[in-house]
């Protein structure tokens, strides 16, 4: 198994990736394949994906490797469960590839897409916050709802930077169309980096570490509430002055006493983990089975 994988990855570099990948799945793959798909469902982070395996050696020439990578990528998808198998056999080059895993345009595009979905879901959920009693609950609902797109992204892009770029984008969009919550960006850069390190320590394979990473990552959502705690009086004035009305401001402040701040941070983390678990369950149920993750 390990040998054949080495052959494939070096052959892909030579430019005839498509043939080899197919061969591989036909010969060594077929029976371990089925086993793997079932096994994998218990651990979606099983091994590194096809691109990053090729990545290990691809700084030689841009054109050939890029095309080769793409060929092999699509072929594995067409074979449908070839992907799952290749991830397993890629274990060898795994350690080597960690050193050299730049984000490719494809990864960047995936990040953009999943951030858009994440943002749409979270934005829809956060309208609940117009009813004051639900404001603290946002710390739980937002991370919970965003788990599915996040976990899928983390499964698709197993490279350093995906989570960090995602939270930076979320923070930027919050500044662009939110106005109030400019704290998500600075907090997000910190939590995003920590989350990256957590996932990296698991070699981008460990599902548990990805779940914890999402928990840490979603602490950035707490950035929404920062002005309410740290500049309370000023924020109270801002709420009233910006036309929400005295009643809303009073209600907001009564539902946000100081002691709730650590609870909210904790809620972000716990419900983030929960959201990630849900996301992983959905991933197992739908995407792994369809050969898409």
């Amino acid at each position: 198994m390990g040998n054949s994988s080495n052959m494939t990855s070096s052959d892909v570099i030579r430019g005839n990736g498509s043939v080899n990948v197919k061969d591989n799945s036909n010969t060594s793959g077929s029976e371990s394949n089925k086993v793997n798909v079932i096994d994998n469902s218990s651990d979606i982070f099983n091994g590194i994906s096809e691109d990053s395996k090729v990545n290990a050696k691809d700084n030689s020439g841009y054109n050939t490797t890029e095309i080769a990578k793409d060929n092999s990528d699509y072929n594995t998808k067409e074979i449908a469960n070839g992907n799952a198998k290749n991830t397993k056999s890629g274990g060898n080059s795994n350690i080597k590839s960690n050193a050299k895993n730049r984000l490719k345009p494809k990864d960047l595009i995936n990040i953009g897409i999943f951030t858009a979905i994440f943002f749409v879901i979270v934005f829809a959920v956060s309208f609940v916050g117009y009813i004051p009693i639900f404001i603290p609950a946002l710390a739980a609902l937002c991370p919970l709802a965003g788990g599915i797109p996040f976990m899928l992204l983390v499964t698709k892009v197993r490279k350093f930077g995906a989570m960090l770029i995602m939270i930076i984008l979320v923070g930027l969009v919050y500044i662009l169309v939110g106005g109030i919550s400019s704290w998500i960006l600075p907090i997000g850069i910190v939590t995003g980096l920590i989350a990256e390190l957590i996932v990296k320590s698991g070699g981008y394979k460990s599902a548990k570490k990805a779940i914890i990473a999402y928990g840490v990552w979603s602490i950035a959502i707490f950035g929404n509430f920062v002005p309410a705690f740290f500049t309370r009086d000023a924020y109270y004035q801002v709420i009233i002055a910006s036309g929400y009305g005295q009643e809303y401001a009073d209600a907001y402040m009564s539902f946000m006493p100081d002691w709730i701040a650590p609870i909210l941070v904790l809620a972000c983390f716990v419900f983030g983990c929960l959201g990630a678990i849900i996301g992983r369950a959905v991933l197992k149920k739908h995407f792994v089975r369809a050969g898409m993750a």
Partner: protein, 243 residues
């Protein structure tokens, strides 16, 4: 999807630099969502709220402009006159609707204007001129392009679900999340693959510096818009200092 993803400004109308549009979006969102009323703000608020609608009309999106202006006028009226007369729970509900409309609609209209009138290459050219890293610029442009797609695909998925008798009425909310979000992400994955193929043929990710034929730059209309933004910022700063 095709029209919005690859929207061209070939239909004519006003042409603004993407950087101007971004500046306007930031100014509108900051001033309208965090700013209040009084003094110069009474002037700046309607100015900023009307600006995206005027821009929509100038770029020949008349129906969108009419719908937006009607909704906004109604919400503004409700906020000023109606809210004083109701209290309690009704106040909260009304406040929620009105607050969303008055505070977020100009932003959303502006964001819509930005997304629907800026091509990807315009956006990338602007990002390059602002020296933004490609690692941020590419996902950002994909994301802005993707919001309309999310809407379209979501509507299509909703139709398909209704056809099979799956709807919010009587359904379990968690199941609904699954039935909506999972198909959404399935087709997003597909679209992502297509997009990355397209990007690859355009040389994205090549180790050389890409050229761009889009000729972006500031013109008279940009300077006018920037001036209006500057006036609003002055009003906002003054309001912050006073209150």
């Amino acid at each position: 999807m095709t029209k919005e993803i690859f929207s061209e400004n070939s239909e004519g109308g006003l042409r603004l630099d993407p950087r101007t549009k971004l500046l306007m979006l930031v100014v509108i969102s900051v001033v309208l969502t965090t700013g209040g009323y009084g003094q110069m703000m009474t002037l700046a608020r309607p100015l900023l709220a009307v600006m995206p609608i005027v821009l929509l009309a100038c770029s020949r999106r008349y129906s969108a402009a009419v719908i937006c202006s009607l909704t906004f006028a109604l919400a503004y009226f409700a906020e000023i006159f109606l809210l004083q007369f109701v209290g309690g729970l009704l106040n909260f509900i009304l406040l929620a609707c009105v607050g969303i409309l008055v505070r977020f609609m100009p932003c959303i209209v502006m964001a819509y204007f930005l997304v629907s009138t800026t091509t990807v290459s315009d956006f990338m050219a602007a990002m390059r001129k602002m020296h933004v890293s490609e690692k941020i610029a590419i996902p950002l442009s994909v994301m802005f392009r993707f919001f309309p797609t999310v809407r379209d695909e979501y509507a299509a998925i909703g139709d398909a679900m209704r056809m099979r008798g799956i709807s919010f009425a009587g359904g379990k909310p968690l199941k609904m999340l699954e039935y909506r979000v999972v198909p959404m992400m399935m087709c997003s994955l597909k679209i992502g693959e297509e997009l990355s193929c397209a990007a690859l043929t355009r040389g994205l990710g090549a180790p050389i510096k890409r050229t761009n034929i889009n000729n972006i730059g500031f013109h008279a209309q940009d300077y006018v818009s920037i001036l209006l933004c500057a006036i609003s910022i002055v009003a906002y700063v003054q309001w912050v200092l006073v209150s």
